[in-house]
């Protein structure tokens, strides 16, 4: 296979403009992310640490293997939302514990005592989906005041699903370990309650349905927290706790030990790039098996991605230049290159994993939609995961396109995306508008992971088009009723709508609402996709040959 030819002119004004814009976007991302790691602020962090407790992120770090990656999911969930903090009071992601990919969720105890609000509920649900879809053992680092009571109407009813999910995963042989570091009361008590393994930290864990005041109110019984729901009581008397940990580090050590005894292998292993690589999926704990690195990095510098992606999403850019900077050796075997050129399809590898890539190179046409559907069939036939590189303004509109059956052909692609059973990963590298979002495996089409670049914008259509459309509709309505048009008011209304849509199309607005799994530095794309692919292989990777009825 030959590498892509993708020389960019680093001195061109377009490149330099894009680079500067993306660089400042990445800097802002770093700053926002940094804020998300600061918990509930200095005062609460200090108080937490003074109690001799580890901060939630330190708990996660200690749980992870040293040197392991940690792909944090939705670190900016709840960003800019009322009553929410960036991260939504939960730290969650995929990392290695004793050589095994696990889905780790930690309550941010310095934010409202770890209480869960609406965004937290969405995020927990998303994390639970990731665990179920990818068969990842879950490790819950519990220290939560429970529901954010003022928000109860938004969370109480839907919140019950989290407990159901734990036991349904258990049935699917996807275990969950709860380490209880602090309070886990009322409904929260069912986190350990439903888990397969429970570790409680001595003199810290407090697990009960009702605390001493409520018990006194209900039955008149006088009790204290330790005897009512302390770690020692649950370990020695109630049996809710399986392991009594001396302290937090001991608890983390115990959880790692539990994971090290899991006896499940990855069900499928793809043909990695070199046929000589040994098939090894056991967790590496003591005597690691040495495998020679077989993966070659792209021949083009990923840093150039900053200058390639357009600062203005309305300006199209060559998707092959992106592909050349994320795939092994920059090698891309393109499928149907001469046909339907606005959708680029082809095979490549990322850190050895085979992947079928679909990337937008312009607006979707009938031919490109049909080509995409065919390519998805091929990947399913060969059990090859899909990578969507989404930069799409939508399907082509206009009379001749409608006549040509753009809906009918677009439906083929949506049919294929919807029914495909190989793991799909979506990266939004620019705009995501209209039905293009659906056809290119947007959130509603359940990709295993979905990340965006900081230049990303998402909406049913662009703010100018949308406000313009509304303007036309209003004028038509006015004309029908013979009302005069107040131009000043019209202009103001159009401007307000445009601003609102612009604000709601922003990638931070999107990520706050869990429309994606996070915004990433474009230069990390290759690494993030590799982690996502590797995680996906914890579940069987089996393509399908069954589809909905195609409208030919």
């Amino acid at each position: 296979m030959n590498p892509l030819r993708s020389a960019v002119d680093r001195q061109s004004s377009g490149y330099l403009t894009n680079y500067a814009a993306m660089q400042s976007a990445v800097e802002r991302l770093r700053a926002e992310l940094k804020r998300s790691t600061e918990g509930g602020g200095e005062k609460y962090v200090k108080r937490h640490v003074e109690r001799g407790k580890l901060l939630p992120r330190d708990r996660v770090e200690m749980l992870l293997d040293e040197g392991s990656f940690f792909l944090e999911i939705a670190p900016l969930a709840g960003y800019g939302m009322e009553n929410e903090s960036p991260g939504a009071g939960v730290v969650g992601g995929v990392g290695l514990v004793c050589g095994r990919e696990c889905l780790i969720t930690a309550n941010e105890a310095t934010v409202k005592g770890g209480a869960t609000g609406e965004a937290g509920l969405w995020k927990n649900a998303r994390l639970a989906d990731i665990a179920r879809e990818n068969h990842l053992p879950g490790i819950l680092l519990v220290e939560s005041a429970g529901a954010d009571l003022p928000q109860q109407s938004k969370i109480f009813v839907a919140g019950g699903r989290g407990f159901r999910e734990i036991t349904r995963r258990s049935k699917e042989r996807i275990p969950t370990i709860s380490i209880v570091f602090g309070s886990s009361t009322a409904g929260g008590a069912y986190l350990p309650g439903m888990s397969d393994y429970v570790v409680m930290v001595k003199k810290q864990a407090q697990v009960f349905l009702a605390g001493p005041p409520l018990v006194k109110m209900a039955t008149g019984e006088v009790s204290d927290e330790e005897s009512l729901g302390g770690a020692e009581m649950h370990s020695r008397v109630s049996g809710l706790s399986d392991y009594l940990a001396e302290d937090e580090l001991d608890a983390i050590r115990i959880a790692r030990e539990i994971v090290s005894h899991f006896n499940r292998k990855k069900p499928d292993r793809p043909q990695m790039s070199a046929a000589t690589e040994p098939v090894v999926t056991e967790p590496i704990v003591t005597e690691p098996i040495v495998t020679e690195p077989i993966v070659t990095e792209p021949i083009y510098d990923p840093d150039e991605l900053l200058g390639i992606a357009s600062a203005d999403v309305r300006v199209p850019f060559e998707i092959r230049d992106v592909i050349a900077r994320i795939v092994d050796s920059s090698e891309f075997a393109e499928f149907k290159p001469e046909y339907g050129p606005t959708l680029v399809t082809g095979f490549a590898r990322i850190h050895g994993f085979p992947v079928g890539i679909l990337g937008n190179n312009g607006v979707l046409m009938s031919e490109s939609a049909g080509k995409g559907a065919q390519f998805i069939h091929l990947c399913n036939q060969q059990d090859i995961p899909l990578l969507f590189l989404q930069n799409i303004t939508g399907f082509m509109v206009g009379r001749s396109y409608e006549e040509d059956g753009i809906i009918r052909n677009g439906a083929k692609l949506i049919n294929a995306v919807s029914n495909s059973t190989v793991p799909a990963i979506t990266i939004m590298v620019g705009g995501s508008y209209g039905a293009g979002n659906y056809a290119m495996c947007g959130r509603a089409y359940a990709p295993r992971f979905l990340f965006t670049w900081p230049n990303h914008r998402i909406a049913v259509m662009g703010e100018k088009q949308l406000s313009g459309v509304m303007d036309i509709i209003k004028r038509e309505a006015a004309a029908k009723t013979g009302q005069p048009v107040d131009e000043a008011r019209m202009a103001m209304g159009r401007k307000m709508l445009e601003d609102q849509i612009a604000k709601e199309s922003d990638c931070y607005f999107a990520t706050a609402r869990l429309w994606d799994d996070g915004i990433i530095d474009p230069r990390d794309t290759r690494t993030v996709v590799a982690i996502a692919l590797s995680a996906a292989y914890n579940a069987p990777v089996k393509g399908t040959m069954e589809w909905g009825v195609f409208r030919h």
Partner: protein, 658 residues
């Protein structure tokens, strides 16, 4: 003249290997003997035949005359080379060889007998007109007390006042008795500022004797040589001529045959005094070989075969210096250390560098024998170039897995007094015990980088990913290490190096700590202060939690401390552990006995010293875990003591149950 076809080497370690080398060159087959401990030793593999001779303790194997003779008979060896130490100066062994019709490559039994007693040797020297160290008047101090038999500084003591004389005398007597089975002592005048200078002599069976110049062995620790050189930096041609003359006249007087060394004390005045004769090949003989170009072992063999000494004295050239690399801990009074040589990498050899060694990578160093690992000998046109060569070789010598005196040797060679040739036998280089924190930090940081990268690359999951990827960066938790006696927590703040690349057993890094870069480079490379740093290759070998890291900056054993501390058991216990390898001399407590801090529990003898292990807490002896005469390893638990409070608590709880 006979021609030996097979020689048994009644020794082990480097000297056995060295003798075999000469045998191979001549064309003589070799027979090794070995104790159980030496089953896999290098000298056993290098010999054509090898005979097991018994248990590890030397008295059961290398000191057993009967077994040596029968091993020679079994293999048909015509001669025995005894090496040094063990049976090399044992008159009974020489006689036994003679009786068995086996040639003993060394002096006759009579000479050995006479030279074996220091007092007898002194009398002989006197009659030969060789000056001896005067016997001091009763109230003249300082005095030197030493054992009449044996050598190696055992039992040697300097007494500075009448008050301490009796105590020292008794102690020396005890030590001599234990070491040599004879408590006889010599009392001499102590000569301050004296140097140790010795003359190599040879005698053949035709009445000829010759000398091969002197060696200066003034640099000692615990009265044992560690650096030897030739010529002596403190000797004039006139003194040399007097001293070698005295040595020859003594050799003639006693009818000396084969190799021997006559040791003298050289006073600052230029007067010298006879100390003793070492009737064997010396540890430091390569120094003489380097300056004379002769093979002394070959000479020994040829003399035993009946050859005549060469007629002409060889012309010595240049300067040779030897350093003895020992498995010992300079910071712990040079006590021998034991363990496994995990890393053993010799510097590149050249014509003016020689390394004699009997160990190899993976060798186990036990408590039973002399802990000499290697002798490194450098030759140069003059003393300065020989020292430079030797220092450079030691810097590039990797010996890891146990404590060695490598860095101490380097410090000695770099010492100004020594370099000026002024260091005498009283010269003691203080052992630096201060941890070089900046340097330690570099080694710990290298280890951290290695662990993260190599272990990451060894994973089954995504080994090709960059280590520690975070899409939401958080500070790296510190990794804890111990090196030397200090602990270090290494995090990502204030990096001291920048990793350039890594491999299975190395890390290439740019050391950016200017202090280190400026002070540690001995080569005269100008350090440009505006440069970013200096690139080093760090070699790394992992054994469990221990990482043996080395570069030209130094060598460290870096121990990775566990991420998760083990649960601390409740209750206060003391376990008295052995600080060093050794043998239990006396047990002073019994189980159930109450002790208080400072009470003596056990007396241990480690090679040459009595060490008393004391209680550090008040409590009750719960268990004595060793027996008298038992050989113990460093860190081995000897006695377990339960604290008084703890004992009470137990008593209360058991009372409550009844």
């Amino acid at each position: 003249m006979k021609h030996f076809r097979k020689i048994l080497i009644a020794n082990r370690g480097e000297i056995a290997v060295r003798i075999m080398r000469t045998c191979r060159e001549i064309g003589i087959a070799t027979v090794a003997v070995y104790s159980d401990f030496d089953r896999d030793a290098l000298h056993v593999r290098l010999a054509e035949q090898a005979v097991p001779i018994g248990a590890a303790p030397a008295r059961d194997s290398y000191l057993n005359i009967e077994k040596m003779i029968s091993a020679a008979r079994l293999t048909g060896a015509e001669a025995i080379h005894p090496g040094y130490g063990f049976l090399s100066e044992n008159a009974a062994f020489a006689s036994a060889c003679e009786d068995a019709g086996i040639a003993f490559i060394g002096p006759s039994a009579n000479v050995l007998r006479a030279m074996g007693s220091k007092s007898e040797a002194r009398t002989l020297a006197q009659t030969a007109g060789v000056p001896i160290v005067p016997t001091p008047a009763e109230n003249e101090f300082p005095k030197l007390i030493k054992a009449s038999l044996g050598g190696g500084g055992r039992g040697m003591r300097i007494v500075r006042s009448a008050a301490e004389f009796q105590e020292s005398f008794t102690a020396a007597q005890g030590e001599a008795e234990r070491a040599f089975g004879d408590g006889a002592l010599l009392v001499e005048k102590f000569i301050a500022g004296a140097r140790h200078v010795e003359v190599q002599i040879f005698g053949d069976h035709h009445g000829n004797v010759m000398h091969l110049f002197e060696r200066d062995c003034s640099i000692q620790r615990r009265h044992q040589k560690i650096i030897e050189e030739s010529p002596s930096p403190a000797i004039t041609p006139e003194i040399r001529s007097r001293m070698t003359g005295a040595a020859l006249s003594l050799a003639r007087k006693i009818g000396y045959t084969n190799a021997g060394t006559i040791e003298f004390l050289l006073a600052p005045s230029g007067d010298f005094y006879f100390i003793e004769v070492n009737a064997r090949v010396q540890v430091e003989h390569p120094v003489t070989e380097m300056v004379t170009g002769l093979d002394l072992v070959r000479l020994q063999i040829e003399i035993a075969e009946g050859a005549r000494l060469p007629a002409a004295l060889p012309e010595p050239t240049g300067h040779a210096i030897e350093a003895r690399l020992y498995a010992e801990d300079p910071a712990n009074d040079f006590l021998p250390s034991t363990g496994k040589l995990h890393v053993w990498q010799l510097p590149g050899l050249s014509t003016n560098l020689r390394i004699d060694s009997g160990v190899e990578e993976g060798s186990e160093i036990g408590v039973y024998y002399d802990p000499l690992l290697a002798k490194i000998i450098a030759h140069g046109d003059d003393r300065e170039s020989a020292i430079r060569k030797l220092t450079h070789a030691l810097r590039n010598f990797a010996a890891q897995g146990l404590q060695t005196n490598r860095e101490f040797l380097i410090a000695l060679l770099e010492n100004r007094e020594f370099q000026a040739g002024r260091a005498h036998t009283g010269f003691q280089l203080p052992v630096s015990t201060n941890a070089d924190e900046a340097l330690d930090r570099i080694f710990c940081s290298v280890t951290r980088a290695y662990i993260e990268r190599v272990e990451n690359a060894r994973r089954a999951v995504l080994p090709s990913l960059p280590p520690r990827f975070r899409n939401n960066p958080t500070p790296v938790p510190a990794m804890k290490f111990a090196t030397g006696k200090q602990d270090y927590a290494i995090d990502s703040a204030n990096p001291v190096l920048e990793v350039l690349s890594f491999g299975q057993e190395h890390v290439d890094a740019l050391v950016v700590n200017a202090q280190i870069v400026n002070t540690q480079i001995v080569d005269s490379v100008a350090v440009n202060s505006s440069a970013q740093g200096v690139r080093y290759r760090f070699h790394i070998r992992q054994h469990g939690a221990d990482y043996y890291v080395r570069s030209t900056l130094g060598q460290r054993q870096v121990t990775r401390l566990p991420r998760f501390p083990k649960k601390t058991a409740s209750g206060q216990h003391q376990s008295a552990n052995s600080p060093m390898p050794g043998q239990i001399l006396r047990i002073l407590v019994t189980e159930g006995q109450t002790v208080k801090p400072g009470d003596a529990l056990i007396v241990l003898e480690a090679m040459k010293m009595e060490q008393t292990i004391k209680a550090t807490i008040q409590g009750v002896v719960r268990a004595v875990l060793v027996k008298t005469a038992e050989v113990v390893a460093p860190g081995q638990m000897l006695v377990e003591i339960q604290s008084v409070e703890d004992a009470n608590e137990h008593a209360n709880s058991s009372a409550a149950k009844h």
